[in-house]
């Protein structure tokens, strides 16, 4: 399997087989909270892809050249979350200054991302992830994995928002409106995504 094949494998895993939301249960708060409207779901998704890619890159460097190099793995959690928080703050400032239109679209979602566990999750999992042959991820692998996981997150977020927009007009039992039906919907989607399981390349 060449590198392209490995990439394809990684993409399928991150987007479908081990989707961060539906099979790893990461990033559920925005998944349930920001999926009422398609527009805001799209904005959130883009912001997550952006931050996840950046966070994967930075945390990989910090982990490899600081934590592992000086045997400080026990500081991993604190170092990663601070990196992500600082990164989000920095990104917010930069795009506010240089790309006001982008800031208008993503701005409101950026602060929320600090507490999106999918971002911290991908950073931690990148340090533990291995290929099938047992070799650890390289810098490029980690960044790509962050990017692809973001894509997977955005995909299910958009799917969910699309369904929920239509659900507004459905005749539901009063007690099931809102969050309960949203959760059951997520369950049905997770069931559908289970179809990708056992699908090995």
């Amino acid at each position: 399997m060449g590198y392209l094949g490995k990439l394809f494998f990684m993409a399928m895993t991150a987007v479908f087989i081990n989707n961060y939301v539906l099979s790893r249960f990461l990033g559920l708060c925005p998944y349930l909270g920001v999926s009422k409207k398609l527009d805001s779901a799209f904005g959130m998704g883009m912001a997550v892809i952006f931050v996840m890619t950046m966070a994967s890159a930075f945390t990989y460097l910090i982990n490899t050249y600081l934590l592992v190099a000086y045997n400080l793995q026990y500081l991993q959690t604190i170092a990663f979350i601070l990196t992500i928080a600082a990164l989000v703050q920095f990104v917010e400032m930069v795009i506010q200054k240089n790309a006001p239109s982008l800031y208008k679209a993503l701005g409101v979602y950026l602060p929320l991302i600090t507490t999106n566990c999918a971002v911290l999750g991908v950073a931690i999992l990148n340090t533990k992830a291995t290929w099938n042959d047992g070799t650890a991820y390289t810098f490029i692998d980690a960044v790509l994995n962050g990017f692809l996981s973001g894509i997977g997150f955005t995909l299910v977020l958009l799917l969910m928002a699309g369904i929920r927009e239509r659900l507004e007009y459905a005749d539901l039992p009063v007690n099931m409106k809102g969050m309960p039906i949203g959760l059951i919907l997520a369950g049905v989607m997770a069931l559908a995504f289970y179809g990708f399981m056992g699908f090995k390349i």
Binding site: L32, I78, L82, A85, K177, L183, A186
Partner: protein, 198 residues
């Protein structure tokens, strides 16, 4: 009086999971068995209590501008302590909770309580709030886990409770079962609320 109020509100009135809908990731991910639910619940409760106490203690010396990073540092420190202590003394539990222990850092309940409560209340009531919210979280986790474990494995806390002929409904302990169980539980909470208000 108020102390008792802060202590009990987390169970029903301001239940973090069913009512405020915070901290969904661990709720769904680790509720595959009651054992995991208790472990996760107490780990989060410990972090919540400690961070609530520290944050209410330092609220006068933290500049408003950098309060969020400081909260994160405090919470992350306690999470790391829990992580290491669990690895040392309850390795099996530590393994089955896996990545969700470090992820307690981003559990919105903890940061949420720091920002909404401990930040502006005394140490004592923050302690009560931490205990109440933490136990409310644990309690909700146990409910979800009970349903999922009984349906999915036919056991409760590892003991067989279903008849031998019961064929476990595997889907209940897989991801879809988590969503659907919680969905119906929340529907029931809404029903109770609607009935009471009528």
């Amino acid at each position: 009086m108020t102390f008792l109020n802060e202590l009990t509100k987390g169970f029903i009135k301001e239940n973090p999971i069913f009512v405020i809908v915070l901290g969904m990731c661990p709720t769904l991910a680790v509720s595959t068995s009651v054992n995991n639910a208790i472990g996760m619940g107490f780990a989060a409760t410990f972090v919540l209590i400690c961070s609530n106490i520290i944050i209410s203690m330092i609220k006068d010396i933290t500049p408003d501008k950098i309060r969020i990073p400081i909260y994160i540092v405090v919470i992350a420190a306690f999470v790391s302590i829990v992580d290491m202590v669990m690895a040392a003394y309850t390795p099996a539990l530590h393994k089955s909770l896996g990545i969700f222990i470090p992820l307690i850092v981003v559990n919105c309940i903890i940061l949420g309580r720091a920002e909404a409560f401990a930040n502006r209340n005394t140490v004592l009531s923050s302690l009560a709030d931490g205990i109440g919210m933490g136990l409310g979280f644990t309690f909700s986790l146990i409910i979800v886990a009970t349903i999922r474990e009984i349906l999915g494995s036919g056991t409760w806390l590892g003991f067989k409770v279903m008849p031998v002929t019961y064929d476990p409904m595997l889907v209940a302990i897989l991801a879809p079962g988590a969503f659907i169980t919680l969905g119906f539980l929340m529907g029931m909470m809404q029903m109770m609320k609607n009935k009471r208000s009528r």
